[in-house]
Symmetry: D2
Subunit: 288 residues, 4 copies
C-alpha cells in the first residue's frame, strides 16, 4: 500500500503500474491521469479518472465496457484479472449451487444479448440476494439508463480498488449529535459507543464517550486518517439516559438501546449522523 504523497511523486511509469489495475483492461486511464499530478486527495484522483471514462466516444465506451469480465464461475475457471478473480471469489461466485449458476447463466446471456456488454456490479458490496435482485431490475432497464448504472458500478469498483492501494487523505471523520426533541434540548450525558470491524472483520468497540452539554461528542471521531471505508454502528444507551432524566420507569419504557448501522463509502469525507430522540420515537439521518 502506498501513500498519496508517494503517488504524486513517483515516475509516470511507476504510477501507471501502481494504478492501472484499478480499472479492468484500461491502462490508458492511469497513463492519462499521471499527467494531472499532484492531486490533493484520492477523491480528486478518482474524480479525474472517472472524467476520463465519461469523456470517451460512444464507440470507445462500449469497447471499454466489453473489457469487463462476466460475473460467472466460468470466468473464474478460465481466468481473468487478479482483482476481478479476488472480488468474484470473495463474493461466492466460485461456490454457487447449480440452480443459482443456471439462473446466473440465463441472466448473463439475456443481458449481453440486450446491451452488448457484460453485466458489471461492485460485488464486494452486494450479498447474493442483492446481486440477483439488482441483476433482474437492471436487465429490464432502458439501454441509456443501464449504461449510466454500469458506469456507477465502475465508479464503485475502481474506488474500492484505489482504496486498497493508496492511503486516503486524512480528512474524513465521524460525528453524532443527539437532540432530545421532546424537551427541545440537546441530550447531554448520554452514553454512546462507536463500533466497527478490526483487521480480521470482528466487531469491536472503537470509541466510547458521553455526550457533552450540546448533545455531541466533544471532538470528531476516527479523524486523522483512522477512518476506513466500511460499515460502522452507533450504539446509544438510551435506557440509562431516560432513567437519569426521570422519563418513564425503565420497566415500562418502549425503546431499548438504539443501534444505527451505516456505511462509510468515502473515508476522505465527514459523516455526521444526528439522532432525534424521544421516549417513544427516534429518527436518524445523514446530516451535514
Amino acid at each position: 500500500m502506498t501513500t498519496l504523497a508517494a503517488l504524486n511523486a513517483m515516475p509516470a511509469s511507476d504510477f501507471g503500474a501502481a494504478i492501472a489495475p484499478v480499472f479492468e483492461n484500461a491502462p490508458w486511464i492511469a497513463e492519462a491521469v499521471a499527467a494531472k499530478r499532484p492531486l490533493a486527495s484520492l477523491t480528486a484522483f478518482h474524480r479525474e479518472m472517472m472524467a476520463l471514462v465519461g469523456g470517451q466516444s460512444d464507440e470507445a465506451l462500449v469497447r471499454f465496457l466489453r473489457g469487463h469480465p462476466r460475473l460467472s464461475p466460468d470466468t473464474l475457471r478460465k481466468g481473468t484479472t487478479a482483482e476481478s478473480t479476488a472480488e468474484q471469489t470473495a463474493a461466492g461466485i466460485g461456490a454457487l449451487d447449480a440452480a443459482t449458476i443456471a439462473k446466473l447463466n440465463v441472466l448473463n446471456a439475456a443481458y449481453d444479448d440486450k446491451f452488448g456488454y457484460p453485466f458489471i456490479l461492485a460485488v464486494r458490496c452486494a450479498s447474493l440476494p442483492t446481486m440477483l435482485a439488482t441483476f433482474e431490475r437492471r436487465l429490464a432497464a432502458t439501454p441509456e439508463a443501464e449504461r449510466a448504472e454500469a458506469l456507477m458500478e465502475i465508479e464503485a469498483i475502481s474506488w474500492m480498488r484505489l482504496l486498497d492501494r493508496v492511503q486516503p487523505a486524512p480528512t474524513g471523520s465521524l460525528s453524532t449529535h443527539v437532540l432530545d426533541t421532546a424537551r427541545a434540548m440537546p441530550a447531554a450525558g448520554l452514553g454512546v459507543e462507536l463500533w466497527g470491524q478490526d483487521a480480521s472483520g470482528q466487531s469491536i468497540c472503537l470509541e466510547r464517550f458521553t455526550t457533552d452539554a450540546n448533545g455531541a461528542s466533544s471532538r470528531d471521531l476516527l479523524g486523522q486518517g483512522r477512518l476506513r471505508a466500511g460499515t460502522y454502528e452507533w450504539r446509544y444507551d438510551t435506557p440509562t439516559y431516560f432513567a437519569t432524566k426521570g422519563y418513564p420507569t425503565p420497566a415500562r419504557s418502549f425503546l431499548g438501546k438504539i443501534s444505527v448501522a451505516f456505511s462509510v463509502w468515502n473515508p476522505e469525507e465527514h459523516f455526521h449522523v444526528p439522532l432525534l430522540l424521544t421516549p417513544g420515537s427516534y429518527m436518524t439521518y445523514r446530516g451535514s
Copy 2:
C-alpha cells in the same frame, strides 16, 4: 403457572395464596381483589390491585411502603421474601464490589432518612448503572414526587410477578408498517425479521416475512397468546430493498440493515411499530 380462567374460578383462599406474593408483605390486596372476580384480563386484575394500593390512607400507604425490603446485600444475607431474593440476586445485588456496596449503603441511608421508607425499584429492568443513576436522581426528588415514583415501581414489580404466575389474555400482538416516505408510498417487498429470546434467553428469529403491497405484514404477529413481556427487535433488510428499487448503488448507500429494539411491557396489548424510510434517513415510533 396458572391461567386467567383458573384464577377466576378458584376459591378465594387459593386465590389469595396464588396472588399474595405479587406484593411485598401485603396479602390484604389479594384478599380484597378476590371479591372482584371474574375479570377479563391480567391487565384488569392488576388495575384493580393498584387501585387498592392507591386508595389507602396516607398512614397505611407509608406502612405499606415500609414493608418493602432494602436493595442491599444485607437484605439477601438476612433473608427476605422469596420473590425479592430472586430479583435482587438476579440483578447482581449479591455480587457487588466493595466500592459499589459502600455507595449503595450511603444512598440507602440517605434515602430512608429523607423519605422514611426504603428505596423501591423494579430491578429486573435495570442494569447496575441505570439503578445507580435512578437512585441518585430520585434521592433529590421532593417527597411527593418520590412517592409517585415508588408507586410506579411497585406497579412494575407487581405486574412482572403477576406475569410470572398467570398466563396473560391472548389479546396482544405485534405489527410493523414500512413507508417509503421519499416516494410517498408503502415499502412493498421489503424483507423483515422479528427477533426475540427463546426460553434460555438466546436471541432467535421468531418470524420472517416480506412486506405486502401496503408495506405491512399481512397479519398480526405473535398473536393468540404467543406474545411475552420482554425485548424484541425488528430487522429490516433495507439494502436489498433499495437495490431492488434501483436506489443508489449498494456500494454508496448510507444505511445498513435497520434494527429497531423495543420492549413489550404488557403482552395483552398490541404494539405497532411503523418505520418511515428513505435512502438517507429513517424514523420509528410506537404507533397505534
Copy 3:
C-alpha cells in the same frame, strides 16, 4: 359536467365528443377507449387512455407529441385548442413581460431543436418560476428521459381535463392521525381544522373536530364525492393541546399552531396524513 354512469352509458360518438378534448389533437384515444366501457372509475378510464398513449410506435408517439401547442404568447395570438388557450391564459402566458417572453422564446427554440417536439408542461400546477426552472432542467435532459417526462406531463394535463368534465367516483377521502410520540400515545383531544377552497378560490374551513381517543378523526373526511382535486391544509391547535396536557407553559413553548399544506391530485384516492408530535418537533408524511 357529466357523471361516470352517463359516460359508461352514452353512445360511442357522444363519448368521443365528450372526451376527445382531454388530449391535444388526438381524438383516436377517446374513440379507442369507448370500446373498453364500462369502467369503474375515472382513474380506470385515465389508465386505459394512458396505456393507449404509451403503446404507440415510436413514430406515432413523436407525431402525437408534435400535436401539442407551444407554451408561448404566439400560440395564444395565433389560436389553438380551447383547452390549451384557457390553461395558458390562466397561467399568465398571455401577460408575460418582454424579458420573460424573450427567455421563453430562446428556451422553446432550443427545446424544439434538441427534441423535435414542443415543450409540454401541466401549467395549471406551475407558478412562473417553477415553469422556468422546470424548462431549464428538462432542456438539459437526455432525449429518452425527456420523453418520459413529457408523457408524465400529458398524464397530468389529461387527468385534470378529465376531472373538469366528469364527476370522479366517490371513493376518495381524507384522514389524519396524531401521535404524541414523546409519550408514545395517541394525541387525544387535539383540535383540528381542515381548510380548502370554496368555488371562488377563497380559503375556507371545511371541517373542524377534536381527535378521538385514538388521536384521529372518528370518520373519514370529505368522503362520498365531496373530495376535489386541489390544495388542502390541516391546522392543528397544538398550543391548547400542550396546555391541556401540562406540557411546558405556553409562554415558553417552541411550536406554534401547526399547518400542513398538501395537494390532492386524485380525488378517487384516500389521503392519510399522520402527524408525529412532541413539544419540540413534528413530522408529517403521506401515510397509507
Copy 4:
C-alpha cells in the same frame, strides 16, 4: 425603554423604580438584585431575580403568591397594578360573556380554596380556550406541583415585563438548515422566507434568501439585536425546489409550500430550526 448598559449604571433607587413592576407587589426583588450589578444580559438579570423568588421561606413564598391579583373582571373593576390591568385587558378578561365569567368565578373560588393563593397565568401567551383548559388542569394538581407551575408562570410574566422595559443583549438570532434526506444531501437552492410581525402586529416578510450549498442561510438572521420575543414563521418554497431537482411533476406532488410557525421566548438565545425534507414527508424541530 432603557438599555442593559443604562440598567447596569443607574443608581440603585432608579434601578428599583425601573424594575420593581416586573413582579407584582414585590419591590424587594429589584432592590436585592441591584447589588448584583453589573450583569451581562437580561437573561442573567432574570435568573438572579428568579433565584431570589425561589430562595424565600415557605411562608414568605405564600405571601408573595398572595400578592398577585386574580384573573377576573372584578380585579379590573376594582383596580390593580398598571401591568396586570394592561395584561388582563389585552387578554380579554374585561370583555368576557356572562357564562365565561360565571365559569371563571367558580374556578377562581375553587382554586383559592384549594391552594390558598390566586391562580397565576402568563395571559399574554394564552388564548381564552388555552387559559380555561390550563385552569382546569391545574386545579386538579397537587399543591406541590401547582406551586411549581405558579412559579413557572411568574417566571414567564416577569420575563415579558422585563423585555418590555429593557433592550435585550444582541446575542440572539435565527437560522434554518434544510436536508434533502431522501438523497442524504443538503437541500441547496431552496427559496426560504422568514416572516414575523411589524410594529402594528401585521405579518411581514423579514428575510428572503436561497439556501447555500450546505442547505442553510449563509449567515444568522435577525442578529445584532434585531430578534424580538414573539412568533415567527419559516416558509419554504418546496414546489419550486422539487421542480428544479426533477422530483415528481408538480401536478402530482403531495407537499405544498411548507410553513413552520415557532415562538421565540428569549431573544438573547439562538433558535436553530432544521427541516428534514423528502417529496413525501418533512420533519422539523428546535435544533442546537
